[in-house]
């Protein structure tokens, strides 16, 4: 009797059952759910990560798919069926060219300061542009840079990854090629005052920012 109680208390449900649970939780929400949260909501001893792997495979090729967004997971409709959802289509505010370019620079160069964005675009970045991206939930403040003045940096959010169907920021299209071509380097101008001590910091922080 005592032993039985202990079993139900301390033994995780079978994997098929865990898979059903992950399925129910992911179906119930529009936002991606982290593995930690899944584990917290499932019975003691459950292995959400493993259950997720099973579920992902199960939905392969179906009308909806299990997708990874940063360290969270969500169910989304298959992109090839978008034409059926005309009714659900959300009109996104049309972004200006400046906003789109700024967004791309933040995504590819993150964490990046306003000064660095301006240096890349060769023109001032209006407050409203970054504010708009923050308001849309695609950009947020990152850690301050350890350079004089400790300027704030900008990074992209999980919502950005979710919106563009990216598993994580390393999956940005062409990122590897750009890096190999040296185009993501923060190369100081030869005639710039020589206080740029953060040449390499940029690419280092980029990796860390995604952890």
């Amino acid at each position: 009797m005592d032993g039985e109680i202990r079993d139900t208390l301390f033994e995780a449900p079978p994997m098929a059952e865990q898979e059903r649970m992950v399925e129910a939780i992911l179906f119930a929400t529009a936002e991606p759910v982290t593995v930690a949260e899944l584990n917290a909501r499932m019975p003691h001893g459950a292995d959400a990560k493993k259950a997720l792997a099973h579920l992902e495979k199960r939905y392969d090729g179906r009308g909806v798919a299990v997708v990874r967004v940063g360290d969270a997971w969500a169910i989304r409709t298959a992109p090839d069926l978008g034409f059926l959802m005309r009714k659900e289509t959300v009109e996104t505010r049309k972004l200006s060219r400046a906003a789109i370019e700024t967004l791309a620079i933040i995504a590819y160069h993150q964490p990046v300061t306003r000064a660095e964005i301006e240096e890349i675009r060769g023109v001032g970045v209006s407050r409203g542009t970054v504010d708009q991206l923050i308001e849309m939930g695609w950009v947020r403040l990152g850690r301050r840079k350890m350079t004089p003045g400790r300027p704030v940096t900008f990074v992209v959010t999980e919502e950005f990854l979710d919106h563009f169907g990216l598993e994580n920021a390393r999956d940005l299209p062409g990122l590897k090629e750009l890096r190999a071509a040296g185009l993501l380097e923060n190369r100081p101008a030869p005639d710039a005052p020589t206080e740029d001590e953060d040449d390499n910091e940029q690419s280092d922080m980029f990796e860390e920012g995604q952890a």
Partner: protein, 261 residues
């Protein structure tokens, strides 16, 4: 390198003319330079920066003739390009340790290539499947309802104290009434020695205070101080264990060696 003069003359003027028409549509001098560079119809890495400088300067000249006011950063760029042009044309001065014209030109080419790369990346990003346009999130969501469950607990000491409290009501007057508002450490020590027999579990030191001493602040202070001192004495003697989770947190005590129960 293509012949710079070609760009400096007719072509450059035509290109400049076209740019002037919608100067409002440009996002700064780098944007103009990038557009001009495209007229060279070569890979950005093979661009003639000298030709580009000439094209740009022609563009600024043309604006001036047409009395079109350019923003300051366009003019700053013009001044810098004029300087760069002279650097590129004059033989390098061995006395001068400033960066060479070639270095400056290479950096400008890098900036243009980087801006172009970001533009291409932005276009690729926007061409991706997007949420709410190509793929969709769940339409019917279920909120997680929060249920708060309260679990009540009590220790054996609470129980015994509770019972003692009731029995004391009939048979005895509370001890505290016979004294001044001061409790000595010896009194506390006497009490706690006896109480510890039931103190197998961690309990807040304040639960050990006697009835009648938790009312007025001065009595509570005295009782707390004497019990705390007594607890330290007993801990020193190895009779009890003390712990405090955080600074200014609750001080908890239990009988020494209660772990192995």
């Amino acid at each position: 390198m293509p012949d710079g003069d070609t760009f400096g003359s007719l072509d450059a003027r035509l290109a400049a003319e076209a740019l002037i028409v919608d100067v409002e549509g440009f996002e700064g001098p780098l944007d103009v330079l990038l557009t001009l560079a495209r007229t060279q119809k070569v890979d950005l890495r093979a661009i003639s920066v000298l030709a580009l400088a000439r094209q740009y300067l022609a563009f600024v000249e043309r604006a001036k003739t047409l009395r079109i006011e350019l923003a300051a950063d366009y003019l700053v760029m013009a001044a810098w390009l004029a300087f760069l042009k002279s650097r590129l044309l004059l033989p390098p001065d061995p006395e001068d340790d400033a960066p060479s014209g070639e270095d400056l030109a290479a950096h400008l080419a890098f900036q243009l290539e980087r801006l172009q790369a970001m533009r291409d990346s932005a276009a690729r990003l926007m061409a991706r499947d997007q949420k709410g346009r190509d793929f969709f999130q769940r339409g019917i969501t279920e909120d997680v309802s929060r249920v708060r469950r309260i679990k009540y607990t009590a220790t054996l000491l609470d129980l015994l104290q509770g019972y003692a409290r009731i029995r004391t009501k009939d048979e005895f007057r509370p001890y505290s009434m016979d004294r001044e508002h001061v409790m000595t450490m010896e009194q506390a020590l006497d009490r706690m020695r006896g109480l510890l027999a039931f103190g197998g579990e961690w309990a807040d030191l304040s639960t050990y205070l006697p009835d009648g001493w938790d009312g007025s602040p001065s009595r509570r202070r005295s009782a707390t101080a004497s019990h705390f001192a007594a607890a330290l004495e007993l801990a020193k003697a190895g009779k009890l264990e003390l712990r405090q989770g955080e600074t200014f947190g609750k001080i908890e005590i239990r009988r020494a060696g209660s772990d192995g129960q």
